[in-house]
Symmetry: D2
Subunit: 313 residues, 4 copies
Amino acid sequence: MALTEQQLADIAAQREQRATTRRVTVPALEEILFTPTPVLDHGFVRVIDYMGDDGAIVQAARVSYGRGTKRTLEDAGLIRYLIRHRHSTPFEMCEIKFHVKLPIFVARQWIRHRTANVNEYSARYSVLDREFYIPAADQLAAQSTANHQGRGDVLQGEEAAHVLDLLREDSARNYDHYAEMLNENADGTAIDPGRQGLARELARMNLSLNYYTQWYWKTDLHNLLHFLSLRADSHAQYEIRVYAEAMIAMLKAWVPATYQAFVDYRLGAATLSAQMLETVKRMLAGDAVEQAASGLSKREWAELMAVLGRGEG
Amino acid sequence: MALTEQQLADIAAQREQRATTRRVTVPALEEILFTPTPVLDHGFVRVIDYMGDDGAIVQAARVSYGRGTKRTLEDAGLIRYLIRHRHSTPFEMCEIKFHVKLPIFVARQWIRHRTANVNEYSARYSVLDREFYIPAADQLAAQSTANHQGRGDVLQGEEAAHVLDLLREDSARNYDHYAEMLNENADGTAIDPGRQGLARELARMNLSLNYYTQWYWKTDLHNLLHFLSLRADSHAQYEIRVYAEAMIAMLKAWVPATYQAFVDYRLGAATLSAQMLETVKRMLAGDAVEQAASGLSKREWAELMAVLGRGEG
Amino acid sequence: MALTEQQLADIAAQREQRATTRRVTVPALEEILFTPTPVLDHGFVRVIDYMGDDGAIVQAARVSYGRGTKRTLEDAGLIRYLIRHRHSTPFEMCEIKFHVKLPIFVARQWIRHRTANVNEYSARYSVLDREFYIPAADQLAAQSTANHQGRGDVLQGEEAAHVLDLLREDSARNYDHYAEMLNENADGTAIDPGRQGLARELARMNLSLNYYTQWYWKTDLHNLLHFLSLRADSHAQYEIRVYAEAMIAMLKAWVPATYQAFVDYRLGAATLSAQMLETVKRMLAGDAVEQAASGLSKREWAELMAVLGRGEG
Amino acid sequence: MALTEQQLADIAAQREQRATTRRVTVPALEEILFTPTPVLDHGFVRVIDYMGDDGAIVQAARVSYGRGTKRTLEDAGLIRYLIRHRHSTPFEMCEIKFHVKLPIFVARQWIRHRTANVNEYSARYSVLDREFYIPAADQLAAQSTANHQGRGDVLQGEEAAHVLDLLREDSARNYDHYAEMLNENADGTAIDPGRQGLARELARMNLSLNYYTQWYWKTDLHNLLHFLSLRADSHAQYEIRVYAEAMIAMLKAWVPATYQAFVDYRLGAATLSAQMLETVKRMLAGDAVEQAASGLSKREWAELMAVLGRGEG
């Protein structure tokens, strides 16, 4: 992540501002407000505003006139109960707004979460920066042979080097030609005053999907947890998972009781099907259950054994 | 509106709290934060939290790193442009949370606005208060004879008095029987220790639709404007319109530039159909257009004349 | 449920209509299309339109040009995989529309599912029928002493009889006064031609929450499954659960493979928290785990033992 | 648009299928069901399923038990009334599903309409085809000098030829390298059996934004009209407008009464602000209003004059 002088100054100015408010305030989140956490080679995520805290969830669940109990232990217990029983509406009473810089192919996955508000930098209106994502060497994975939608071993040696060369060269060339079609130098002057320059909304189509875009993304806490549980999951693509992980650290600063319930009842939890439950019951009763007789497919059996921490059963 | 001592104390305590924040803060809204505005005979609406201000809209439209220009005139111009051209996403970046006490039949209209977050007081879990809505004398309207869905003249004399008696007596009796079925006195003690009492989730069905409920209702600014434009409209039922009007005053304190654009481009604006526009063009050209030859139905013609401030044309 | 002659004739006429279509069609659902399933004392639910079938889910998951494989076994396997891994978007490609008649207090719970389309009968515009819900004797439950939000034993003898009398009398009286305020007989004529009659939008407030309303309710299959999993749950209020159960029978006729996956991975499944999983692992390893040392609260421990089919552990 | 033999056969097979249904059916839409309408150089849009018709809107507005009046004139009148007064819920009772092939930069605009269901072809899972969008000569527009977000004159001569060369060469090279990194020939065989090939979810990032993707897109009629009014607008980018225009032709076949109301009250209509209405009133009263004294900005004045069909006033 390389922010310009101007951007760093803007962020510093935001962090300088102070006001007095009657609203609920979270000191631990104020501490990191506006500060970007670097993600990937040029991306970042930062919190730029928020509404509510753990107490606001309790207050909403009780539709109370005042601030709520402030009895931390009881409140945490209620929050755990609400998460466990999927009472989602009290969590919708907290809201958070992020500023995110991310590669376009990551943005295309992210935007599928529809219950959020988004304002994206417009390449119809403005010129994109010369910033593209190149995977780190340890993330340059081969196609998985076991799973159509996954990564296998990390590429090595010549193949790895060649892939990185292709990605770098194509990205750079595509940007050079983007600027040439726009007829615009980096400082905004015309490359050739005799030419008109292609419309921005057309020229952008020459950029590849690893170019960085940025947006403001605002969502309520319930939908944030849903987003994080899907995108911090091991099945999620690495390039979006790292954003989710950075945001989980911010979640912890913001609503620590909700964070802990989320870890216990979502991230660390598992859903067992009717057949899986039946299998566990038989195992507890001492039966030597095997996959073939379990009613589970091989894949489900493997999933269950993984959840129970047993090699292949 | 009769708040209990405890409720007043809770509200006062909320208004006492002060914290320092790096977030955008709106002094004019802080001024009225938590204070209930009375609506109807026992209802109220109050703001209990908010995120963003006029500047946050500008900032989102530009996806900027910093606070935005702070050049008030330019910002207001951009906000007017965004409203006029229905660029709605920057307005979604501001959020507001209300606490509302309202009759159930009003709540049933209100809840149809789906793009909002709601936590309602649960009559499955708790006992409702003995508070019901009785229309003021000047709102006791007859069924309109012109419009299936509207009010006509205000009822007078004996008919009015009789209606008010029926509403009052039935509401009171329904509550008495609700408490009797629950087997619960106002102080929570059993009326008859020898009885079990009907489940709350069942007993509530004996209450009528004018009973008050309450909820926390949170929405973004774009959806708030949509709600207000529909519910402050003259076609909206009076009992919801008064809530919308109270909320428009809060809107003005919160985002004054957006408020003014909303007044000019929504509340005070009119949409003219293709045929209406054609009629206006002909009128401007000096033609003596009449309804029959205008291509407009009688009702549309009357609507157009009303918009143009001309009796019946 | 007592439908009028006219309503029965309308429904019969709908069932008579036949057309040829190129669209995907489900014979088992066509069989029951438009036919109301009675629910509670005067309610019903019926399917009035649908789009898609199990095959449409498979087709969407593959974004295929044609109809999909039609290899039933493989398709069912893919559907199970999608449900298990919470890939929800393919299920959004199927849509269903219901006509439901239900008590207002049930409608108020139901409407909280926001991702659906609703058109409700308007009591601002029309007069409601004289139909209200009275619980059957075996559903007249006392307030639970263990659970704030639940039912205990069924009321017996005098207390039960008295409750039913109160509900019946108040409901009947409220309707009589509703009609009197409207100044309208059942046949639409004026009770007293010398009176104007109160506006419908006001008079309705005298009706109690057990009055029946009706609506068209349309949703996609993903959101239907979510609705059904919450409302067919044992924690849901009986009066909405019976609707969910009637709809599950329709789900089975419509999309049998999805229905089976829903039964196995939702209705019959259980989510175990991180601590619960740890406990199960220790039990499988032969440890004699007890609640106190399990890291589970008493309530969670009881939930886990219930899921594992063990009395109190 | 160049469909493969297999795709054409799949589509033909879909069009062959016939079933008998009790559902509402629209012969004019059945006529074109599944048939792709070509859009841009390789894209298309086709209807693959639908629910409801004009009559279903009327039926929902009345929450009727039967089919509705079938009195075409009255129904059209009600539909016009509903559109004019923005009663949107009855239009949500109709649903339509499209299969669309479109450039990625168009998909990125389209997906911002959140109230729709989408299943997109997955480049994590599958290999994309070698198809990219190259603008036709008459659409190769320069950046507008008047409007940051618009097109100016069409590029001519050498500049145009050069731009087309750059777009074509970069797109082709990017695909060649995509295949090389994947280590996959067009027939799925390995280019070099000694290499592993980069994971698909990574390799795709080398493709540019003019590559075609495809999806199933399903929405209700209310949200479809909203989409079409924004995307068929003259301010929309040409490359998405052509899709909207193709879909409007399908709308006309599906719900002709709604289509006509949409043309009259949306596409051909204009919203006048409070100040614009005041200006029109003064003009009708014979005043020689000028921009400076009108209370309108220059831009608003120009917009009003355009709406009234008057050069510059």
